[in-house]
Amino acid sequence: MKLRVIKGIILKDLREIRREKMALFWIFIFPIMWITLFGSIWGGESPPITLKVGVVYYNESSPFTAYDVVGIMKNVTLEGVPLFKVSEFKNESGAIESLKSGRVDAVVVFSKGFGANVSGGRQAKIYMYFDKTDPQDYQITSGIVKGFFSEFEKEMKKRSLEMQFKYMEAYIPKEIIERHNLTVEQIREYMLASAEPLVIEEKTVEGETATPIQFYVTSFIGIQFLFATMLTIGNGTLEEIEKGTLRRIAASPATAWDFLLGKMLSTFFIIMISIVIGIFYSRLVFGETIYPSFLGWSLIFIASLFSMSLGLSIAMLTRSIKSTTAIVNFISMPLLFLAGIVLPESVLPSWAKPIVNYFPLGRALKDLRLLELYNRPASEIIPDLIWLSLITLGALTIAVLLYNWVVKRLE
């Protein structure tokens, strides 16, 4: 191993790259474009929305009527923003027309006698209409409206129970309760539980969930491995063959390892710059990013080494820049999705999951996410790191053998 040769190759590669417009695009512009694009689509906090709801109800004279419910709807707010913008309709068909034309997001119809039924302790009916054209919109809208009414219903249950309980306290003789070894409080709790058997309280735990921006910063790292890393080393080596410089390097005192080490280190350095740009740009513009730990950087290093071995092998087998570019794109495009690079594993079809787990780049990225996004302990990652290192060593050996085979046969 000749350090001067390796240094020479690294410097030469970096100087060439610095003057290559396409390479500069991939290193500097691509991370910024990627993070800007996904950051502005999914990034940041989404503002609370206001739903336009059409209501239909009938005037009644009971103590509590649909009119009161509509009044409450008009006043509910979430983080200071009204949850509903209510428009009242005379009849059901008018409201549905409005829903169809998109002037309202949902229609709530209080059945005739709603107020009388509620006040009299009987079941009261509410009909809801939603537009299902866009399934995602439908989910959000129906979730909010149904959520509102189920909360409302719970509150009503509690109140009617409180009422029933007051009657009970007043009319059931104390001796009877005591004879059954009960207290008033126990009966009260029992009645509450029969009305609402489960109490679900939502709690969020800080740090365990990743923001979309952080997820896309890791995606971007994966993309660099799938495309830029493979192409830089593969086509970089082929260019030297085409130009005749590789023959000259091979004839010089430099060994194959000197050349490959120099090429790999320069490629790694370039990819690192790109990753660091992505990381800091995301922090600067969206206020969020990931800062990989030492273990995280080790994963990145091994993944890039694997990617380089793959790129070099493809280049040595095809011996053509065009074919190498085509094959790298052909493999990498589907892997972008199927190896969980840009899509979370949870949304992948079950047949794609082995790719995430056994294709080293997918696995390395998954580990990186577990480590940096989901705060898993290092001990969980280290066995994978060893596995990845061994696979990478195998891939690298194959790449070097192919390289030697090609160089020996240069005519």
């Binding site: 000749k2 020479g8 190759i9 410097l11 030469k12 003057r19 004839a251 005192p253 430099a254 005519e411």
Partner: protein, 296 residues
């Protein structure tokens, strides 16, 4: 001891035999020309010597030592194609190759000065002449004793070519042994102390330019200039006819008898003759005599 000694060298590309048993001796300190048309095998021979290209059979010694990775350091090689990286400057290119060959750093500035190279200019911005000189500078970084030049003046304009020839003569003054491949007889004639004529992978004659020309013996060369037709007819009467642009060279035993016949044939075929001369033989005439065809 020879600087380069080659015995029965054979090399095939697949089924095609590019070198069919080459024997060659280059003396230390001489300029040795390898003259032959395109495809003769010149580059193949040089790459075996300088780049370690594999060969099938034969024996090669460099200053008496069998060829190896070690002897390669004794040889500087300027190939037909530039090995400079286009996006790097002259200085960066020299620095890279100096690192590769572990050559002293001061060599870089020395060579830049010697060849008058613009250090900050990118290789792709250099003219053909400067690019060739950059390649020459690269090959001299580690001070090789033998310099192998593959068609050094191909693609250069006349002034650059002249300048390069001066430089090559200078290398000889400095004691370097030079092996030069060319298909320009002029280049071989001006520069080379000795010349090997190579054709289809075989060396067909070796000697000083004078010795080679003497191989023509008693033959004279008649050169006819003008708008000429009827070269094919001439070939029926004279076995050695060389067609060039606006001229024809004919090898004859007795110019006085041949001249009327030549002119008669050419005029009959509708030629417009501007001049007729009896000329000194050139190396191309030697090649024509040996192979029946021209160099280009």
């Amino acid at each position: 001891m020879y600087a380069v000694e080659i015995k029965n060298l054979k090399k095939s590309y697949g089924d095609f035999q590019a070198l069919k048993g080459i024997d060659l001796e280059v003396e230390e300190g001489e300029i040795f020309g390898l003259l032959g048309p395109n495809g003769a095998g010149k580059t193949t021979l040089m790459r075996i010597l300088a780049e370690g290209l594999k060969y099938d059979e034969g024996e090669i010694r460099i200053f008496g030592e069998s060829i190896s990775k070690r002897t390669r350091r004794l040889i500087g090689y300027v190939s037909q194609e530039s090995i400079a990286y286009n996006l790097l400057t002259v200085e960066e290119n020299l620095n890279f190759y100096a690192d590769l060959y572990d050559a002293p750093k001061k060599k870089v500035s020395e060579l830049i000065k010697r060849f008058n190279l613009p250090p900050k200019k990118k290789a792709k911005e250099l003219s053909g002449g400067f690019k060739r000189r950059l390649n020459l500078a690269i090959s001299l970084l580690y001070d090789p004793k033998i310099l192998i030049l593959d068609e050094p003046s191909t693609g250069l304009d006349v002034p650059s070519r002249r300048k390069l020839w001066e430089e090559i003569k200078q290398f000889k003054e400095e004691g370097k042994t030079i092996l030069l491949a060319t298909h320009y007889m002029e280049e071989a004639e001006i520069l080379a102390d000795r010349i090997a004529i190579i054709n289809e992978g075989k060396i067909i004659a070796v000697g000083t330019p004078k010795e080679l020309k003497e191989m023509l013996g008693e033959e004279s060369i008649v050169q006819v200039e003008g708008l000429l037709k009827g070269a094919e007819k001439l070939k029926n009467n004279f076995p050695r006819v060389l067609e060039k642009e606006n001229s024809i060279r004919i090898h004859v035993k007795e110019p006085r008898q041949a001249l009327p016949k030549i002119i008669e044939i050419l005029i009959k075929e509708g030629s417009q003759i501007k001049a007729v001369k009896v000329e000194e033989p050139t190396l191309e005439d030697v090649f024509l005599e040996l192979t029946g065809r021209g160099l280009e």
